[in-house]
């Protein structure tokens, strides 16, 4: 009498969490199985929808025909991103932006990164070389070198707070305490700030970050913004945690830290996955499954000499077979053909060339997604996560109806 989940999601990244939240809101019993924490923890926390062009939503139309964005219509993309905005807002991590306009946020290298939706602590961010920033840095913080920014934005000023040995994470923890925040503010007020904008590495606390930013802005009477840092990336962790909290609240079960050892199938259905364990094997049963394990970096795909493998279900992978094209002058350029690799799906996000009925695929493991080339990682994860969840819902409803039909018959 083991538990049977309505949906088992493999992979706890942006796509998997988005799907879990959507399904949880629909009242389904959901489990997420993950081998470890996802790449989103290491990211800037910004949501890239499509980095090429001014208007991401219009840009989608210009993508090659085989891009997975084309599996849904524009309205669906809007709804999915809107849903994301409402979820993070409910979790106290409001985001700003619209899918009709890209923006630039300042990176620690002093150049702009094109993105779409940004956490409220980065709203004022600018990468304009003419801009005059007052950059705050912390001596002893290894993961942030303001010199790069000052070199590219020469009108800017710099103040350094002596802190001893610190990390982005320990700073974020300290910002959450009243005493440190008061101390920081009094230090900041004692420095002579001439610039109109204040920029500092992304360390403004964890869940209190939006409130801390507001307080700094109120007291300093200037916009303040965060610059995402090298990992450990506080804004990435905030985003991940906010989505996990939401999923947990909706009743999602998390099976963490365990890779999948076997998959049980019966006819055209996946019935269970078994997780590796030093003790008793951990079996997770489901009526439907979503594969959201990411591509090579996320661990969903592995490239062997003999070909590219999908690690969980061993689904057929579409990839550029001619390896001679994998070589080039540059190291992993965004246009590298390996980025085409992934799973081909039908309109319901079911893998093609298999007979599995209850398996759906989402996120960067989708073939031709080319998230680096197009700058669409988190956006595509959110949209296809929602889409796979919708397909799952339709499938389970259809199945339940089939059951009642057969019973009445």
């Amino acid at each position: 009498m083991e538990i049977v989940y309505d949906v088992v999601i493999i992979g706890g990244g942006m796509a998997g969490l988005t799907a879990a939240i959507r399904l949880g809101q629909a009242g389904l019993r959901v489990a997420i199985v993950s081998r470890g924490d996802p790449i989103v923890c290491l990211s800037t926390g910004c949501i890239d929808v499509l980095a090429s062009g001014e208007n991401p939503l219009e840009g989608v139309e210009k993508l090659p025909e085989n891009h997975p964005y084309h599996l849904v219509d524009r309205e669906f993309i809007k709804e999915a991103l809107n849903h994301f905005l409402s979820v993070v807002k409910e979790e106290g991590l409001p985001y700003d932006g619209t899918w009709e306009k890209n923006r630039k946020v300042l990176t620690p290298l002093g150049v702009g990164k094109t993105t779409c939706l940004v956490p409220e602590t980065m709203v004022a961010s600018t990468a304009d070389g003419e801009a005059r920033l007052h950059v705050i840095s912390f001596a002893g913080l290894k993961d942030f070198y303001p010199g790069y920014i000052l070199a590219r934005m020469p009108a800017s000023d710099l103040s350094v707070l002596e802190m001893g040995r610190v990390s982005t994470m320990s700073l974020a923890s300290r910002f959450e305490t009243e005493e440190f925040l008061d101390f920081f503010l009094s230090w900041l007020k004692s420095t002579d700030i001439k610039a109109d904008l204040i920029a500092l590495p992304a360390v403004l606390g964890w869940q209190k970050a939006p409130a801390i930013k507001d307080r700094l802005e109120d007291e300093l009477r200037r916009p303040v913004f965060e610059i995402p840092t090298l990992p450990p990336s506080v804004p990435g962790i905030r985003l991940h945690r906010a989505l996990v909290r939401k999923a947990l609240r909706l009743g999602t079960q998390f099976y963490r830290g365990r890779p999948i050892s076997t998959v049980e199938k019966a006819a055209q259905l996946v019935e269970a996955v078994t997780l590796e364990s030093p003790g008793r094997p951990i079996r997770v049963n489901g009526r439907a499954f979503i594969l959201a394990t990411g591509s090579f970096v996320g661990g969903g795909l592995i490239s062997h000499r003999s070909g590219v493998e999908e690690v969980v279900f061993h689904l057929p992978v579409s990839y550029p077979v001619d390896r001679m094209n994998w070589f080039g002058e540059k190291f992993l350029p965004p246009e590298h053909p390996i980025e085409e690799a992934g799973i081909l799906v039908d309109g319901e996000f079911r893998p093609k060339n298999t007979d599995l009925e209850n398996l759906f695929v989402a996120g960067s493991i989708l073939a031709h997604s080319r998230v680096l080339r197009y700058g669409c990682g988190h956006g595509l994860a959110i949209v296809t996560g929602e889409a796979a969840a919708s397909s799952c819902l339709r499938y389970l409803k259809w199945q339940a109806e089939g059951d009642t039909c057969s019973k009445t018959a």
Binding site: M1, E2, I3, A31, S34, R35, G36, D37, P38, I39, C41, L42, G164, R165, V166, S167, M169, S170, A172, S173, E176, Q207, P231, P232, S233, I237, R241, V244, R245, L248, R249, G251, Q253, F254, Y255, R256, G257, R258, P259, L275, S277, P278, G279, R280, I282, G298, G299
Partner: protein
């Protein structure tokens, strides 16, 4: 396995110590990075390995299968530091428990005296949170037929109770026995000793191995006789299922691990959910369920949450983001006192935000730390479950009251 590390820092992001103590370089450097330079048979000279609290969040989070916490634990045990008094003391919590429970009134009285406390502090033991009190009537003393191996029922289970439940909170064990009896299981307590985690955490590998071997010798006959082994302490559970094989490499570890279950996971997997939920009565409480790090590390999901969510009237919130900081005996050592408090404060503030009247947590150490830091009562899952069962009414209450022996099964 450190070769699998791609230095993504996901482990660091999950390290509660790194987030508050700048002296600890984080699990990446303390684990896989430094491991490249450590030689077999050589003492470890990196003084900072001792700051790791072994919550194992890094290992649970690592997407590339690097056992960061295991690497650090092995390094800790090879640390050249002379064994301090507090380490030696905490490595022997089982012996300590046996003596203290026999002299419980005296020990409890002494542990509250300021003079004794200041002496303890001088010896490197933290007294910032109250030491748990001991009971003379331990679980083993109050249990008839400890070591009974001749269960007749088909559903028979052997309870690995752990030191804390035995010496400090035996009433929880009695509640669990009654609960299991109501659900139709025959419960026995096998002979057992400390799981060995306190010895491991205080760098006494030899003692840990001795404990492990003894437990396996005691438990294997039960496995052979068809018993399922249940644990209620998630840290004991992790030690038995993981550390016995992966750290201590004692023979028989696999066999026992394969037949060992977390109590609530076992219930959910052997009974239908309805068999449990039909027994549950209304509990009008606002509860925060704090997930112990070691439950997270077990990778079995959060089974008790399924039961909690089915209790009518219960206003439930769940918290798995923060470590409590105490980490068994870690926070009871003066050198870690401040780190443990800083980590715990974060968890405590989050719980306070939920305005819960009661904290529920599977781990005794988490409960101690969080109730101390929040001033809010912290209870074991069995306490809440009992409340809910009692709320079903008099009939159950009476049968419950007269339930003297583990051999009596009650059908409700």
């Amino acid at each position: 396995m450190f070769q699998n590390c791609i230095r993504c820092t996901v482990c660091v992001e999950n390290c509660p110590v790194f987030a508050v103590n700048p002296l600890f370089p984080g699990p990446k450097q303390a684990g896989p990075d430094a491991q490249r330079f450590r030689l077999d048979g050589e003492a470890v000279v990196d003084d900072w390995v001792k700051y790791c609290c072994q919550c194992r969040r890094c290992q649970t989070a690592c997407p590339y299968g690097v056992p960061c916490a295991d690497i650090i634990l092995r390094a800790q045990m090879k640390h050249e530091e002379v064994k301090s008094f507090s380490r030696q003391m905490f490595a022997r919590v089982h012996t300590l428990g046996r003596i203290s429970s026999s002299l419980a009134p005296l020990v409890n009285f002494l542990m509250r005296r300021e003079r004794v406390k200041s002496l303890m502090r001088k010896l490197g033991v933290s007294t910032s949170i109250p030491f748990p009190s001991y009971r003379f009537r331990t679980l083993e003393r109050s249990w008839k037929n400890v070591g009974l191996l001749t269960g007749r029922k088909e559903k028979k289970v052997a309870l690995f109770h752990g030191c804390f439940m035995n010496f400090n909170q035996p009433e929880i064990g009695r509640k669990i026995r009654n609960l299991l009896s109501i659900l139709g299981y025959e419960v026995t307590i096998p002979p057992q000793t400390c799981c060995g985690l306190p010895a491991l955490g205080n760098y006494d590998e030899e003692r840990a191995r001795k404990y492990a071997q003894k437990n396996l010798d005691c438990l294997i006959p039960y496995v052979d006789a068809g018993y399922d082994i249940l644990y209620t302490c998630t840290s004991c559970g992790l030690t038995i299922t993981h550390d016995y094989q992966k750290i201590l490499q004692v023979s028989g570890g696999k066999k026992v691990a394969e037949n060992t279950y977390y109590l609530y996971d076992y219930l959910l997997n052997t009974l239908s959910k309805e068999a449990i939920t039909s027994l549950l009565g209304e509990v009008d409480l606002k509860v925060t369920y704090h997930i112990p790090c070691h439950l997270k590390a077990l990778g079995i999901g959060y089974p008790f949450r399924e039961i909690l969510a089915s209790i009518p009237g219960l206003d439930l919130s769940i918290q798995d983001e923060y470590c409590c900081g105490l980490a068994g005996s870690y926070g009871f050592k003066r050198e870690n006192e401040e780190t443990a408090r800083l980590i715990g404060e974060k968890a405590a503030r989050r719980i306070e935000e939920t305005q819960a009247n009661v904290i529920v947590s599977d781990c005794g150490a988490c409960r101690m730390q969080l109730s101390h830091l929040t001033g809010c009562e912290a209870v074991d899952p069995a306490d809440i479950l009992e409340k809910s069962l009692l709320a079903r009414g008099m009939k159950l209450k009476l049968s419950y009251f007269f339930l003297g022996s583990h051999r009596v099964g009650i059908s409700v």
